[in-house]
């Protein structure tokens, strides 16, 4: 027996997990913990505002917006599948659709906030409902915004024909983040518009 190394089959089946998804899942874990704290604060303060307006008086359920955001998860999935199969036109089309749906969601949130602030007089400083509502929905909207920046970056690279099927694994790491943003919206939507209203 010369050395320990001599009996190990070289280049065999040693395949630790890829670092991209592991890193992204770790980030998602940390982000989830942040959202949990904001959700707990929201739930804890439901019905504790000392003054109006109450959620039932001012909130309208953003169903179309929600449908847009959730369906963007499907389109981004189709986009990355097209990229893996080297169907570049389909990739660009679905990626753009995702971007458009995400942007629609963010604009929808903007319109909702404009309505609340200027017509209903609800700001972050009005009462506890305003405090928790704007911070929770705003935290999510911020994540959508970061996602849109990422989507736009990939879109620009794709338009310049710099995205290749070999890079689909890297694109998929970003896709994980986008799915996370959608899943969090389910929790936020349920808390704010169903439980809290």
């Amino acid at each position: 027996m010369a050395t320990a190394a001599s009996t190990i089959p070289a280049g065999g089946t040693w395949a630790p997990p890829p670092r991209g998804p592991v890193g992204m899942f770790c980030l998602i874990a940390a982000e989830s913990a942040i959202f949990v704290i904001f959700l707990v604060a929201y739930i804890f303060y439901i019905g504790r505002s000392l003054s109006g307006p109450t959620p039932r008086e001012v909130l309208e359920v953003p169903i179309f917006n929600t449908v847009c955001l959730l369906s963007s998860s499907i389109t981004i999935h189709l986009a990355v599948r097209a990229l893996r199969q080297a169907r570049m036109l389909a990739f660009k089309l679905f990626w753009f659709l995702t971007l458009a749906l995400g942007a629609k969601f963010l604009i929808g949130t903007g319109i909702e906030w404009h309505h609340l602030i200027y017509e209903r007089g609800l700001t972050i400083a009005t009462n506890l409902f305003g405090t928790t509502y704007y911070s929770l929905v705003g935290l999510h909207a911020f994540h959508v915004l970061v996602g849109l920046v990422g989507l736009t970056t990939v879109m620009l690279f794709a338009l310049a024909s710099k995205v290749r099927p070999q890079q689909s694994e890297k694109v998929e790491v970003f896709v994980l983040y986008w799915h996370f943003v959608d899943v969090v919206w389910v929790a936020v939507f349920t808390t704010v518009y169903i439980v809290g209203r």
Binding site: A5, I8, W14, R19, G23, L27, A29, I37, A41, A125
Partner: protein
């Protein structure tokens, strides 16, 4: 091994021959732009030592102020700033950077790879943490917004609401605290992502999870805890900023907000934080004790299970910091029981280290001295922890010096002793030179004596009723002698630290050459040169057991035969 024929990046760095200030600038530039885990690790450690000095000076000021009853060494305002800055500095900008630094430096070496999984994220994490620390200390200058004298935050390291609201903390000192800690938290989360990805994805061939060095396991669980525990602090700091800048009401009791929820959010971070600090220390001990006992670690799988167990349980014990706020009895019962339950895996670890030493050929080198100090002191820290976990006992001694004594036993007697041990153990690897033996022994003795003088008697003065965070006290309560002893102990500790600091600098120039493997170690970092080359290993190693260097040195009796 054809390492000489490979084109390696360090050949580029040594090529131009510069002189004078150009060379200094070049070296500085090299350190600023680096993404090398070894340089970043050293910078993390350097940052930690710098803030350790500042936090130590603040501690000395606190101890001089409390030396005599009705003493006025500093004003009450300055006293408040000192204990706030001492706590914040020591946790966020001393302990975390030093432990992260050792991890960033050692983990790629120990798992046999060339760098962290995300080298640039690694650099980002370091610089953002350093920026956070500098921002915190800038408050001494800019805390009042530049007109009017600066002032440091004075809301204590846990910054309880509503003291932190605009009404009670005008000026910007609290904002410096919030943003400084928030930024260091971002850095910690980035580093945790990096640790987890590195440990899971970059292990060298053959190193299954069950064959990793225990230090890598401890850092993996620590990274998970950072993700789960620092994030709530981040969320709470964002809420506090919203309160202070946009007029939100999260912690505003006037508008129906709750001061208690800040306590919950803070301690959901705060208690796992203790384990974020102690798990890497456990990792150091688990590497050093076997090497200096000449035995493999006793009960490797049990150690891993205990670590994971601690990780999980530590997320459900936070409210034992809050027994006096008046919780429901079932809540009290839950947190009493969970806090006691965490003593079980911790106890398992202590027995495993003792089991490793039992029957071994123990070499009392300097790292081992600190390990033994750790075992003894950490046991006592754990025992007073169990005492404080009992709610009725806690009601009696909450916010007393007993609590101060307890957690300094954990953080100084446990974590800091492990860190000192790690310095003596890995300094030869990092610099290529051994630390001076006699000066190290003096450091150990002075610090050991100082530690016990200070923190043993804090328990007594706490039982006698001295509350924490008081500016001064009346004579005649039986606290005078104890406070003098405690402060004298602080002076001993300062002398010990001075020996340590001199040793670090002196040995760098004058220490005896260490060679690759001064301790006859078993993990992969000892397989490369000291200090390691930029690429760590000319050839990525392959391992077959948890002690690859033992296998290499003893081909007639390798560990993997018995797996």
């Amino acid at each position: 091994m054809s390492s000489n024929s490979l084109p390696m990046p360090d050949a580029i760095a040594s090529a131009p021959h510069l002189t004078g200030s150009a060379r200094v600038l070049d070296t500085l530039h090299d350190w600023v732009i680096t993404v090398d885990h070894k340089k970043l690790g050293l910078m993390y450690i350097g940052m930690g030592l710098f803030f350790f000095l500042l936090g130590g000076i603040e501690a000395i000021i606190i101890r001089i102020q409390l030396l005599f009853p009705l003493y006025h060494f500093v004003s009450p305002q300055v006293f408040n700033r000192m204990f706030t800055m001492h706590g914040t500095t020591m946790i966020f900008f001393t302990a975390m950077p030093i432990l992260f630094g050792f991890g960033v430096y050692l983990i790629p070496l120990m798992i046999g790879t060339r760098d962290m999984a995300f080298p640039r994220l690694n650099a980002w994490g370091f610089w953002i943490a350093l920026f956070g620390g500098l921002l915190l200390y800038f408050s001494f200058v800019g805390g009042d917004g530049l007109y009017g004298a600066g002032n440091a935050p004075d809301v204590s390291w846990w910054a309880y609401a509503p003291l932190t609201s605009r009404a009670f903390s005008p000026g910007h000192s609290t904002d410096y605290w919030t943003i400084g800690v928030l930024l260091s938290g971002f850095g910690s989360i980035a580093s945790a992502v990096n640790f987890a990805a590195t440990i899971l994805c970059l292990r060298c061939p053959g190193m299954t999870l069950g064959k990793m060095p225990l230090l890598a396991w401890m850092y993996l669980v620590m990274a998970g805890l950072v993700l789960m525990a620092i994030s709530p602090l981040t969320a709470a700091q964002i809420m506090l900023l919203l309160d202070r800048y946009l007029g939100a009401h999260f912690f505003d009791t006037q508008a129906g907000g709750s001061a208690t929820i800040w306590m919950h959010f803070f301690w959901i971070f705060g208690h796992p934080e203790v384990y974020i600090l102690i798990l890497p220390s456990f990792g150091f001990i688990s590497e050093m004790v076997p090497v200096f006992s000449r035995k493999p670690i006793f009960g490797y799988p049990i150690m891993v299970a205990a670590t994971v167990g601690i990780g999980f349980i530590s997320l459900s014990v936070w409210a034992h910091h809050m027994f006096t706020i008046g919780m429901e009895s079932y809540e009290n019962a839950f947190f009493v029981l969970s806090s006691m339950a965490i003593a079980v895996p911790t106890g398992i670890k202590i027995f495993n280290w003792l089991g490793t030493m039992w029957g071994g050929k123990i070499r009392y080198e300097l790292p081992m001295l600190f390990c033994v100090g750790f075992l003894f002191q950490f046991l006592i820290a754990g025992l007073t922890g169990i005492m404080l976990a009992v709610a009725p006992f806690n009601w009696q001694l909450h916010n007393s010096y007993f609590v101060i004594g307890h957690f300094h036993y954990v953080i100084v007697g446990g974590i800091l002793f492990a860190i000192f041990g790690a310095f003596y153990y890995w300094y030869p690897k990092m610099t290529g030179r051994m630390l001076k033996q006699k000066l190290g022994l003096l450091h150990f003795l002075l610090f050991f004596i100082g530690f016990h003088l200070t923190f043993d008697f804090m328990h007594i003065v706490g039982v006698l009723g001295m509350p924490r965070r008081i500016y001064t006290y009346e004579p005649g309560r039986g606290w005078e002698y104890w406070n003098i002893v405690i402060s004298v102990g602080a002076a001993f500790q300062a002398l010990g630290i001075a020996c340590f600091a001199i040793n670090l600098v002196w040995s760098y120039f004058q220490g005896t050459r260490a060679g690759r493997d001064p301790w006859d170690g078993w993990t992969l970092e000892w397989a490369t040169t000291s200090p390691p080359p930029v690429y760590n290993f000319a050839q990525i190693p392959e391992v077959k057991s948890a002690r690859p260097l033992w296998d290499f040195k003893h081909p007639e009796d390798p560990d993997w035969k018995y797996l």
